[in-house]
C-alpha cells in the first residue's frame, strides 16, 4: 500500500513527537514544469535531511530525528499553467476549500458548521498550492526542515522565486494521551486494521481519476482552544461535553438522576486506572443515553456501518498540540493541529455540518454554541500515492 510516509496507519506505527507544516505559494507566472523542477530540488533536500545531511554542511552529519516528509497539493496547484492533471473532480473540486474568513475577521468555516474562524483571522493561511508535512522525534528536526525549505527556495536565484514559504505551523505530541482541556484525546481513533480502508482513495468507475488511487486527502485545521472559557465549566459539565470521565478517560454511558456523568460499567478496571492501561475501555459505547449522545466523542463517531464506507464518516486523525504567544490575555494561544487523512474530504465536511454530528455545534454537549474552538487556518490537500515517481510524489501533476 503505497501511501506516503507521515501517515501512521500501520500496526504499531506511532508518529514522532514533533510536527510542522509549511505552506508553499507558487508564483502566479510560473508554469507547471518550473514548479516541478523546484519541487524536485526541494525533494532532494528533504532526502538529505532524512539522512542527516544538509546542503550547507556537506560531510557533517547530524541526527535526522527520524524525519518523515509528506507532500500535498491543494486545488490551486491544479490551476498552475500547464498542469498535467485536472483537479480530482469528486473530492477536491467539490470539497477542496473551506470558506474564507470575513474581511473583518471571523466568520463560519462552513455554512452549517458550528466552527468559526477566530475574530483576528482575516485570511486563511492554509490555502496555498502546496503543503509539506514534517514529523520527527525532535523539534529541531522539523524546524530545520522548514528553514532548509526556505534556503533551497531562496538559493535558486529565481526572481521572483517560483515557490516561496507563505507560512508554517508547528506542534508536538503529549506523552500523557491528553489534550489541553485535560481530557484523554485520540484514544478511540481507528484500529490499525481499519485505517487504510478509511485513508486510501478507492477506485471509481471514472478512469480519469485512476491516478489518484491509493493516495489520500489531508485535512489540516489549526484550532485555538479557548481555555479560559473551558475552565468556566464545572468538571461534570466538561465531562458530559466530552463524553468521557475527566480523570479516568472512561467513556460515559449516561447521566444519573442528578445529571452527573456515569462511566460505562467496569471502567476503570483498577481503582487508579485510566484508559490507556485499560484498552478494552477506549472505545465509546454504541448506545449512550440522549444526554451523552450529544457529547463530542459521540458526535464524531456514531458507530455507523463499515469504516471503509464514506457513509460511516470516520476519518483517520493525527493530532499535534500547539502553544504560541498571543498579544491578548492570557498571553498565549493553546490549541490543536488537527491533521486528518481520508479517501474523500466529504467525510469531514459531513461530520462538520450534519445535525446529530457536529452540525451547528462547536464542540459538543449541551452548550452546542459555546465558542470553545476557533479556527486559525484550514486547508484540504491531495496527497499523492508514494508510487512510481522518479523525482517526488505527485510529479505527474507537473511534468
Amino acid at each position: 500500500m503505497p501511501l506516503q510516509e507521515g501517515i501512521y496507519y500501520q500496526s504499531g506505527a506511532r508518529p514522532g513527537t514533533a510536527f510542522a507544516v509549511v505552506f508553499l505559494r507558487a508564483d502566479p507566472t510560473a508554469d507547471s514544469a518550473t514548479v516541478g523542477r523546484s519541487l524536485e530540488r526541494l525533494w532532494g533536500v528533504y532526502q538529505g535531511l532524512k539522512r542527516g545531511v544538509s546542503r550547507d554542511l556537506p560531510n557533517h552529519l547530524f541526527p535526522s530525528g527520524d524525519l518523515t516528509v509528506l507532500l500535498g497539493f491543494g486545488i490551486k496547484a491544479f490551476g498552475i499553467a500547464g498542469a498535467k492533471r485536472s483537479v480530482p473532480p469528486e473530492a477536491l473540486a467539490n470539497y477542496g476549500l473551506f470558506r474564507s474568513p470575513l474581511a473583518s475577521g471571523g466568520g463560519p468555516l462552513l455554512i452549517g458548521s458550528g466552527l468559526n474562524y477566530a475574530d483576528d483571522v482575516k485570511a486563511n493561511p492554509a490555502t496555498e498550492e502546496i503543503v509539506v508535512q514534517f514529523i520527527a522525534n525532535t523539534q529541531l528536526a522539523v524546524r530545520r526542515a522548514v528553514v532548509e525549505t526556505w534556503k533551497c527556495l531562496s538559493d535558486s536565484g529565481e526572481n521572483p522565486p517560483v515557490l516561496s514559504v507563505s507560512t508554517y505551523f508547528s506542534g508536538f505530541q503529549r506523552d500523557d494521551g491528553r489534550s489541553w482541556i485535560d481530557f484523554h484525546d485520540g484514544v478511540s481513533n481507528l484500529k490499525s486494521s481499519e485505517r487504510y480502508a478509511v485513508i486510501g482513495i478507492k477506485p471509481t468507475g471514472d478512469p480519469s481519476t485512476s491516478w489518484t488511487e491509493d493516495g489520500s486527502y489531508m485535512t489540516y485545521v489549526r484550532i485555538h482552544v479557548d481555555l479560559p472559557l473551558w475552565r468556566k465549566l464545572a468538571p461534570d459539565v466538561q465531562s458530559i461535553a466530552v463524553g468521557r470521565s475527566k480523570l479516568t478517560g472512561c467513556p460515559l454511558a449516561g447521566v444519573d438522576s442528578n445529571g452527573s456523568p456515569l462511566s460505562i460499567a467496569g471502567c476503570p478496571s483498577a481503582p487508579s486506572g485510566e484508559i490507556g492501561q485499560d484498552d478494552g475501555f477506549r472505545e465509546t459505547p454504541r448506545n449512550p443515553d440522549p444526554t451523552i449522545a450529544t457529547s463530542h466523542v459521540q458526535r464524531v463517531n456514531r458507530h455507523r456501518g463499515a469504516v471503509e464506507d464514506p457513509n460511516s464518516l470516520r476519518v483517520f486523525r493525527q493530532g499535534f498540540e500547539f502553544l504560541e504567544p498571543w498579544d491578548r490575555s492570557p498571553g498565549f494561544r493553546a490549541g490543536l493541529n488537527f491533521v486528518g487523512f481520508q479517501d474523500t474530504p466529504e467525510r469531514l465536511f459531513q461530520v462538520l455540518t450534519q445535525p446529530g454530528w457536529l452540525g451547528k455545534t462547536n464542540f459538543g454537549g449541551a452548550e452546542q454554541t459555546l465558542p470553545l474552538l476557533k479556527v486559525l487556518a484550514a486547508g484540504i490537500y491531495f496527497v499523492p500515492p508514494d508510487g512510481e515517481h522518479t523525482h517526488f510524489p505527485g510529479q505527474d501533476i507537473f511534468v
Partner: protein, 412 residues
C-alpha cells in the same frame, strides 16, 4: 403488533391487523426463500426485547450505485432525471420527485422537492383494503384531490374485488415491488402520474419492506474471523463476499443496516425493529441551504407523514403561492454555493434509517459465532454487476440530453 409507520395514521384495529399481517408475510417470504437467514439474534417482535436500547443505523439518502460505478456528477444527473431516474437509481430508501412550475417569464423551473421514505407495502395494504381512506390520504398528502383513475385506473375501485384492487393500485401507483404474488402484467414502474410526477411513497422495488427486513436479518449474526488466533468481528467484505452479494456492500443502506445489526449481534444483543416499523428521515442539514443569504423559511421545510421525530416525508421549497423557485435556494458545500436544481442536492444532506431496538447483551458461546474465512480484500465497487445497468442508463440519459455528455474537466 406494530403501529402505523411514523404513527402517521389512526387505522383502527382491523386495518392495523392487516398491516401487521403484511409485515409477517414479508418476513415469512424471506425465510421461505432462505432458511439459513434465520437468526436467534433477530426478533420481529419488538415486545420481546426487554429494556431495549436504540441503535444508530442510518445513512445518507443519495444513491450510491451511480456514484461508485461512474461518478457523483452522474449520480446527480441520473437521480434528477424525473421518473426514469427515480426508478433507475433512487434505491437507498429515499425517493423524490421535483414539482415544477412556470415562472413569470414562462420558463419551467423546479418549484420544490417531495421526498418520501414511506414503504410501498403500507400503501398497498391500505389501497387493497380501504379505497376511500387511501384516496383521502393521497389527497391530503399531495394537496389536491386525487381521482380514482389516478389511484386505480378505474372509476370506482369499490366495485373491484380486493385482489383486483391490489393489482390495479400496484399497476398505476405502486409498481410491482418485485412481489411474486402479483401477476406478471403489473409493471416494475407504476404507469400513472400520481407517484411519478409526484412522490406519494417509495416505489422502487429495492426500497421495500422485504429488503429492509432482509438486510437487517442478514446482518444479525455474530459473524467472526480469526486474526492472530484471536476471534474478532468479521469485516464487511467477508460477510458480503461469503454470500456472493458483494455489490450490496457498496450501497449506503445495506452495509449500514447489516453491519449495524452484526455489531449488535457480535456483542450478544438481539436486534428488532422498534415500533413503529418503517423508514424515517433522521436528519436534514437545512442550515446548508439559504435564500439570498438568509436561512430558508420554516414554511419551506415541511416534514409530515409521522409524529415528530418519526417523519417519513419532507417537502422542501416554496409553495405554489410563493414567487420564489427551488433554484433560488443555494446549497453551500465547502466554499461554494450552488443553486438547488433538483432533489439530489437535498437528499445528499438527509440521513434516513429504520428504528432499531437492541436487547441487553448476553455472553456468546463458541457455537453462536459464524466463523468466516472469506477474504477481507477490498471489494471493487466500480466493477459490480449493477454498473452495467447504470452505464446503460447513463447512455440513455446522454441520448436524451446530448449537451450534457461530460467533457474533460479542468479547474472550476
Amino acid at each position: 403488533m406494530y403501529n402505523t409507520p411514523g404513527l402517521a395514521d389512526d387505522l383502527g384495529p382491523e386495518l392495523l391487523a392487516r398491516w401487521n399481517q403484511e409485515i409477517q408475510r414479508q418476513y415469512q417470504v424471506i425465510l421461505q426463500g432462505n432458511h439459513s437467514l434465520e437468526s436467534r439474534f433477530f426478533s420481529l417482535d419488538w415486545n420481546l426485547i426487554e429494556m431495549p436500547t436504540t441503535a444508530e443505523i442510518d445513512w445518507f439518502g443519495n444513491p450510491a450505485e451511480p456514484e461508485f460505478c461512474l461518478s457523483r456528477m452522474v449520480a446527480k444527473q441520473l437521480s434528477d432525471w424525473g421518473a426514469q431516474g427515480r426508478h433507475g437509481v433512487q434505491n437507498e430508501y429515499c425517493e423524490y420527485a421535483v414539482v415544477k412550475a412556470l415562472d413569470s417569464a414562462g420558463k419551467l423551473r423546479p418549484k420544490r422537492v417531495q421526498i418520501s421514505t414511506e414503504l410501498r407495502e403500507y400503501w398497498v395494504t391500505l389501497a387493497t383494503a380501504d379505497p376511500d381512506r387511501t384516496r383521502a390520504l393521497a389527497s391530503a398528502v399531495l394537496g389536491f384531490d386525487v381521482s380514482w383513475m389516478d389511484l386505480y385506473g378505474v372509476n370506482n375501485p369499490n366495485n373491484l374485488a380486493e385482489e383486483d384492487r391490489r393489482i390495479a393500485f400496484s399497476t398505476v401507483v405502486a409498481g410491482n415491488g418485485q412481489d411474486l404474488t402479483l401477476p406478471k402484467s403489473v409493471p416494475y414502474d407504476p404507469t400513472g402520474r400520481i407517484n411519478t410526477d409526484y412522490c406519494l411513497f417509495m416505489s422502487h422495488p429495492i426500497n421495500g419492506l422485504d429488503d429492509l427486513i432482509y438486510i437487517v436479518l442478514f446482518g444479525a449474526k455474530p459473524y467472526a474471523q480469526t486474526v492472530n488466533e484471536q476471534r474478532q468481528q468479521a469485516t464487511r467484505e467477508q460477510i458480503f463476499r461469503k454470500y456472493g452479494v458483494e455489490h450490496l456492500a457498496c450501497r449506503h443502506a445495506d452495509p449500514a443496516a447489516a453491519m449495524g445489526a452484526c455489531g449488535a449481534a457480535y456483542e450478544g444483543r438481539t436486534v428488532a425493529f422498534s415500533d413503529p416499523i418503517g423508514m424515517y428521515i433522521k436528519s436534514f442539514a437545512r442550515d446548508k441551504f439559504q435564500i439570498r443569504g438568509n436561512p430558508v423559511p420554516d414554511a419551506w421545510v415541511r416534514f409530515s407523514r409521522g409524529k415528530k421525530p418519526l417523519w417519513q416525508r419532507l417537502e422542501f421549497g416554496p409553495a405554489d403561492s410563493d414567487a420564489e423557485f427551488l433554484d433560488d435556494i443555494v446549497v453551500s458545500e465547502a466554499a461554494d454555493e450552488t443553486p438547488v436544481i433538483g432533489g439530489y442536492q437535498v437528499i445528499a444532506n438527509i440521513e434516513v434509517g429504520p428504528l432499531i431496538s437492541l436487547s441487553k447483551p448476553v455472553a456468546l458461546s463458541d457455537g453462536d459465532y459464524v466463523d468466516l474465512t472469506t477474504s477481507s480484500e477490498r471489494i471493487k465497487c466500480s466493477e459490480a454487476r449493477v454498473c452495467q445497468r447504470i452505464i446503460s442508463l447513463k447512455s440513455l440519459y446522454d441520448m436524451e440530453h446530448p449537451a450534457s455528455a461530460p467533457g474533460p474537466r479542468g479547474m472550476r
